[in-house]
Symmetry: C2
Amino acid sequence: MTAQTDRRTGGTSGIEVVAFDGDDTLWHSESHFVDAHQRFCDLLAPYVDDPRRIDEQVVATERTNLALYGYGSKAFTLSLIETAITLTDGRITSHEISDILELGKRLLDHPIELLDGVAEVVDALAATDRRLIVVTKGDLFHQEAKVAGSGLADRFDRVEIVSEKDVATYRRVMADAAVEPEHFFMIGNSVKSDVLPVVELGGHAAHLPYTYTWEVEMVPGANGADHGYHELTSIRELPDLVEQVAAGGV
Amino acid sequence: MTAQTDRRTGGTSGIEVVAFDGDDTLWHSESHFVDAHQRFCDLLAPYVDDPRRIDEQVVATERTNLALYGYGSKAFTLSLIETAITLTDGRITSHEISDILELGKRLLDHPIELLDGVAEVVDALAATDRRLIVVTKGDLFHQEAKVAGSGLADRFDRVEIVSEKDVATYRRVMADAAVEPEHFFMIGNSVKSDVLPVVELGGHAAHLPYTYTWEVEMVPGANGADHGYHELTSIRELPDLVEQVAAGGV
């Protein structure tokens, strides 16, 4: 059965819910962190001999603070301030710390830019009788602002903002959406957070890599063939893939 | 009908869901912010002639940043750092900014202390066939940690962590809990966030003041008699009040 034929039958018995990650799947996010990180490096350059020390210390501070701060721009900003004080042995000026605060605020108020193809694909899937949801991790307040700023809010049946994307979280999300794992399809840029826990529950998942992957989200060695998920190179491939999975074809 | 008689009938037709605010209703929160604020004032005292300027500038900075940062300890910490730089005209040292970061971390990792009577009252209500939920505002990651740290998590049917407690939020919370407003009873320390929006929807609410009220949560002139809500002086009064409301007695 071709995807086209299946789409005409309109069956949702196979896939009832298509769930999207937010950051770096629907809209750009990590690119803004990469920009902010670069401005941070420029700010610290006069104090630090080896620029690699900046990267290392930022990642180390973020990892240490993760259990306390969680994810998001405010956590990132606080970790940058801490890193700046540590790396400069306290020589960083309060004027430069103000610059870091500003850089953090820009992360919170930049306009939302959808990734290429997202608007068309979400519209196309919203026109089927499948339910669409967002499952996004991070700061509650900021993620809600992003969904609102995306212009896509009315296409989604539910928006689930979660602190961690693990098996327990997806089990709860599926229960709240009243959908069984085999009828649930998740797409996202993180193998660790968007793909593997869904597959573990018996759901369907597709990995769509973004230009950048945050160090903390990396899963060395994971691949679709060995781990039972789909690999996409463009979100434009999603509607056909969902139809094929729904029809039991892949 | 007395509360005792009603409790024996066990009827939940009147009230099906009892919803609790978290911070300053189930556990202490604002007292920790008050402590942190005091330590912040001590830190800035050498720089500022009139200590009232510190309070004013903290509240002004928090209000300005609210639309960007939302609520919670990380937002508070970032606003304190900004305030410190502003108030000292940049003379604050990076060592002192480290102290502010630490003070913010202590807000995030202090043990959860339940308010007096909470454990008994939650246990008593959990033993009825009413469903209990938490509706709490603030940082997703931190609020989840507080619920986990409270030792009460298994008494609650749902934990709703929200970015704002307004009419739209309570409408969604009630829909997700599949309860009509007239069968919903909310208790909390904030008239603005826990009481008025619930009453506006046709639900029942009780106000239980905490020792401190955050400036942003104040509603001058509100009172139970004029605004259709109940006023409690101890959470120990809650089970009887719920029974009376359920029986249509008050």
